[in-house]
């Protein structure tokens, strides 16, 4: 009797399988099948046409290097768009973050309303923004810059105001006691604590923007994306290949430099 009891304690008790868990699994599997049927997803098509994919891929593997003359200036335009968009968006995000940080603006009505506006802006996807601005300012890089500026705003404002809210409140208290006004408190007590975060977030937004700006051209918002679409449409895969290779190289390079600088900043 006692030995069996001891044995019970020694061995790991088996976890009881609940029927409810099995029901969940069944529900998910059924849901998967229903949605596959509903959307008429056919994985077979991918494999059936795999030969074609391989063909395109092979053509792209023989890039048309003479096309570089056209691609490089376009790429530069894309990067310029990303830089301008990041700069404009960050400046707005900087001011906006200070206005919605609750340890700086004590009025909850003000911060509340501004936060709702921020959240609405953040939900708009970049391609939709691009389309909207193409409709407003016409086809060209200006639309792209504006779309990127708002994307940047959405990324930076959220990260930055949260960083502001986590600062050490001590220096704010000290500056208040000294008789400083609101702006002086921000300059002397808040910014020294968060400015490196801000720069880091801007670089992060820039990384995203370089990638996003290559796609924005698709909808006519300037940059290299337009040519990506055109070469694809006329099945000129060697040229498409050139564009893609150049984009990959630049994005990887910028990501690397940016993340290294962010690491250095945070030390």
């Amino acid at each position: 009797m006692s030995s069996t009891e001891q044995e019970k304690l020694m061995t790991l008790p088996k976890k009881k399988l609940k029927i409810l868990n099995w029901l969940w699994v069944l529900l998910f599997v059924a849901g998967l099948f229903i949605s596959t049927n509903e959307t008429k997803t056919d994985l077979g098509a991918l494999f059936a046409n795999f030969g074609e994919f391989a063909d395109i891929f092979l053509q792209m593997l023989h890039p048309d290097w003479s096309y570089l003359v056209t691609v490089v200036p376009l790429l530069l335009e894309t990067i310029k768009m990303a830089i301008l968009g990041t700069a404009i968006g960050s400046v707005i995000a900087f001011i906006y973050s200070l206005l919605i940080a609750r340890n700086i603006v004590k009025n909850k009505a003000v911060t509340g309303i501004l936060r709702i506006i921020m959240n609405i802006i953040r939900t708009i996807p970049d391609l939709l923004l691009g389309a909207i601005f193409v409709a407003i300012v016409g086809i060209g890089p200006v639309a792209g810059v504006l779309a990127l500026a708002i994307c940047t705003f959405g990324i930076v404002v959220k990260l930055f105001y949260e960083a502001i809210e986590t600062i050490d409140p001590g220096p704010i208290e000290a500056l208040t006691a000294v008789g400083a006004n609101k702006i002086q408190i921000i300059v002397f007590a808040v910014l020294p604590q968060v400015i490196t975060y801000f720069i880091s977030y801007c670089l992060y937004a820039f990384e995203i923007n370089v990638r996003a700006s290559t796609v924005l051209g698709y909808i006519g918002a300037g940059g290299i994306g337009l040519y990506l679409q055109q070469t694809l449409q006329i099945f000129d895969y060697p040229k498409t290949g050139t564009i893609i290779i150049v984009i990959i190289i630049v994005v990887v390079l910028i990501d690397y430099v940016s993340s290294k600088s962010r690491e250095a900043l945070m030390q």
Partner: protein, 257 residues
Amino acid sequence: MADSAVKPIIELKNVKKVYGKDVVGLKDVNLTINKGEFVVIVGLSGAGKSTLLRSINRLIDITEGDILVNGESITKAKGKKLRTLRRHIGMIFQSFNLVKRSSVLRNVLTGRVGYYPTWKSTFNLFTKEDKQRAYDALQQVDLEDKVYSRADELSGGQQQRVAIARVLTQNPDIILADEPTASLDPQTSRRVMKDLQMLNEKHGMTVVINLHSVQLAQEFGKRVIGVRAGEIIYDGKMSDTPASTFDQIYSGGDQDE
């Protein structure tokens, strides 16, 4: 009594502070502190020492009553008027409250910020005299070799002395010190208390300190105020205060709760 030395500089009149709905911070406190005094406030944690001190420069808004600083009501002051009054009141904190990522010099210079218009201070346009003043202040606390160090490179005691240099640069009439030695070792604590004594004796500043340590209070204080459960239960000269009084102040905390 025409002597300017007994001019009241801080006056609390029927000051009451209630936190939230029913947590009493201070109940009906009346207190007059004269120019040039060195006052220590003692009492248990939560007795209301911090509330009392912070209501003087209005880091905390009081619920009822009035507080006069240099004869002017700080409770009624707003905007620029409030900032000008605060300029005359320096403050030392338990956690030093330096900007850790800024240099020592910049931290000390923040003491002058209240004297500058916004745009000038924003672009760091401090006058030569003020920079010299900041450097002189650092010399007085023996930290002149740390001018350009980042504040977080300094030890706790050094940081508190930078805070004292900041107050010295601010050149206020009154210094409020809220547990200035609570996070320091005994030796460093004594050093900080000596610096505060120097501000009082050499620069004629009125000093009001919240202290935990009875020993430091007895060594440095000239006037003792005992606080318990939001009330002043003792007020007298240190030289007339027997050790048993401290026992009384620190006892019975539970009974009142």
